[in-house]
């Protein structure tokens, strides 16, 4: 997977998989309500049970999606961590792109004018 990187797009390759295993395992465990409660009761102790690195624990403390991804986090598992704080994917998108949630939603709405063209099959010569 050594092709040119895609700008602004982390790809969850082996490099991140190896780095992020403990962090992702912790996040995966948050599927369970009992584990979410244990996390909230004592974050650090909970993270230590999974052998997370200092960088990973700092990233968890920072609530920074960019830091969590740099620490090897995969967004599918991180979503379970974000869910604890009732953050949805627009909140995460806004945080990562450095804009307000309203501005992030407005950017998504800009795409809407394509709907009619695609539904009518007019966007085909691409």
């Amino acid at each position: 997977m050594a092709s040119a990187p895609i700008p602004g797009t982390p790809v969850f390759t082996s490099e991140f998989a190896m780095k992020g295993y403990a962090l992702n395992k912790m996040c995966f465990s948050l599927n369970s309500a009992a584990n979410r409660a244990a996390f909230l009761a004592d974050e650090d102790a909970y993270c230590d049970k999974f052998g997370m690195s200092g960088e990973q624990k700092d990233a968890i403390r920072s609530r920074s999606v960019a830091a969590l991804i740099a620490a090897g986090g995969n967004v599918y598992y991180l979503a379970k961590f974000a869910g604890i704080f009732h953050l949805n994917v627009q909140d995460l998108g806004a945080q990562q792109t450095g804009v307000s949630v309203e501005a992030f939603k407005a950017k998504l709405n800009e795409y809407a004018r394509f709907n009619a063209d695609v539904n009518a099959g007019r966007l085909s010569n691409v």
Binding site: M1, S3, I6, P7, G8, T9, P10, V11, F12, T13, S14, A17, Y21, N24, K25, C27, F28, L30, N31, S32, A33, R36, V65, I69, N74, V75, Y76, Y77, L78, A79, K80, A82, G83, I84, H86, N88, V89, Q90, L92, G93, Q96, T97, F104, K105, K107, L108, N109, Y111, A112, F114, N115, D117, V118, N119, G121, L123, S124, V126
Partner: protein, 278 residues
Amino acid sequence: MSKIMGSVATSHIPGIGNAIAKNLQQDPYWKPFFDGFIPAREWLAKNVPDVAVVVYNDHGLNFFLDKMPTFAIGAAHVYTSEDEGWGIPTVAPLAGNAALSWAIIDGVVRDEFDVTTCQEMLVDHAVTIPLQLLWPEGPPPVQIVPVAVNTVQHPLPSPARCLKFGQSIGRAIEAYAPDLKVLVISSGGLSHQLEGERAGFINPQFDALCLNALINEPEKLTGYTTLEIVELAGSQGAEILNWITGRGIMQGKSREVLRNYHIPISNTASALQILEQV
């Protein structure tokens, strides 16, 4: 012998599950999306399946990185949904058709696909939401066969491999002796990206290319590498692999009977496409 009726391909954005739970179908934000399913349900009332083969990707409910299959096939009599960690409601247990699952497994292994077989399997929103959209009134009146494609951990299977995998599943279904009518449900996409500085990326032109190609020119998509798909459709746009697999299951030519495309639902270009086998 069993017969493949056609396919319904749809996005599976988690927010849909919450919108259903809160009855927001008439809300202005949601109405253009949910209205797309009215003709889909009319089509289903005329084309009643016995079994739905649901091609989807697990989002960290049943599979973790300790055992991450490229392709997995459920072979259970019943499938349950479960807490995914961020509040989407679960649904009643879903009936499986284990005998058809095994006929498919025997067929694809004979065709040199190296599947993981799952005699017990939790199914996440990528399975439950399409079923809720098609049968909103309650438990779906079909048995299911879940087929999971890895879109999480690179290397992902190539679009070419996914199409071939689907074709092998299709052959196994058409060789299955009981007279079942089989619907393909392809779950996921279209373009979206949740992570990185490009979060919120959507590519309507590429989505249109995909929707058009899926009708009868899937080879237009099998020329891409998975990383090219990620570049064109966004990281989670790689879920188009589920649609390509699903298109492979349909043997031969198809006719598009319904298309609905709506941006945005959450961060995603949502899409619904029904193809009928001709």
